[in-house]
């Protein structure tokens, strides 16, 4: 804490201390609602809730598997209920949103350079999508085989 805070009081010009007359705006609790970009950001962050929901469902599925064929059949029936389908539709949309934003933001975290020149963003993002497709295909093949 102190490493950043102390200098503020030490080096801030004296006249800025206790200055009574500025108007200091307050951030609304709903700051993320009224601007498209902020809303998109919050939705991106909330995609993590559906990621967690997926893990919970997967744990339940593993538990059902462990408890034998009947339990697994019951679990599969539950997956067919409208509520479960609805949840999975929403989850799917959110995780795809997560994947796309994640892949597209990756280039800005990795300034990849090739022979001294920075690679254009799409060249950094493209392999992500390629890996995504191949891995998805592999998983599907293993499960369906």
């Amino acid at each position: 804490m102190c490493a950043v805070k102390q200098p503020t009081t030490r080096t801030a010009p004296a006249y800025t201390e206790f200055h009574p007359r500025w108007y200091r705006p307050q951030v609304s609790v709903y700051w993320w609602l009224f601007q498209r970009q902020y809303l998109k950001f919050i939705l991106r962050e909330l995609s993590s809730v559906f990621v967690a929901a997926f893990v919970v469902i997967t744990l339940l599925q593993l538990n059902a598997l462990r408890n034998g064929p009947e339990a697994y059949a019951r679990f599969q029936q539950w997956l067919q209920t409208p509520a479960a389908i609805a949840l999975n539709v929403v989850s799917f949309c959110f995780v795809v949103f997560h994947a796309i934003t994640w892949f597209n933001l990756a280039p800005s975290a990795m300034a990849v350079r090739l022979r001294g020149k920075p690679l254009p963003d799409f060249m950094v993002a493209a392999p992500n999508y390629a890996v995504w497709l191949v891995v998805s295909g592999a998983v599907a093949w293993l499960v369906l085989r």
Partner: protein, 117 residues
Amino acid sequence: MERQSNEAFFWTLFSAGGVIAAILIPVHIFLFGLAFPLGWLPAPSYEHMMALVRLPVVRIYLFVLCSLPLFHWAHRFRYTLFDGLQVKHLNEVIFTLCYGGAVVGTVLAGYLLWNMG
């Protein structure tokens, strides 16, 4: 200054979980949550699923698939709560709940996969 290395640790888990979630979870939800229940694709039999889950590689895969995304969630969710609701004073509680949840999920995943017949 201890928080410094902690943050790097949590961020590393967050990123790793984000990658796993982005690459693997969509296809899983598509298959098990939509395609099989809705009959778009023939659902694998119980035996096939068990045969898969018995493989050690698959268990490790499933463990990673469950654990890391939970830490990804914990990181994002705690910041969303701090910022979205402006509840900085509940900092510690939220932190404990989020990462506590992720640890519980990880332990559960480990337990289930370890004891999978």
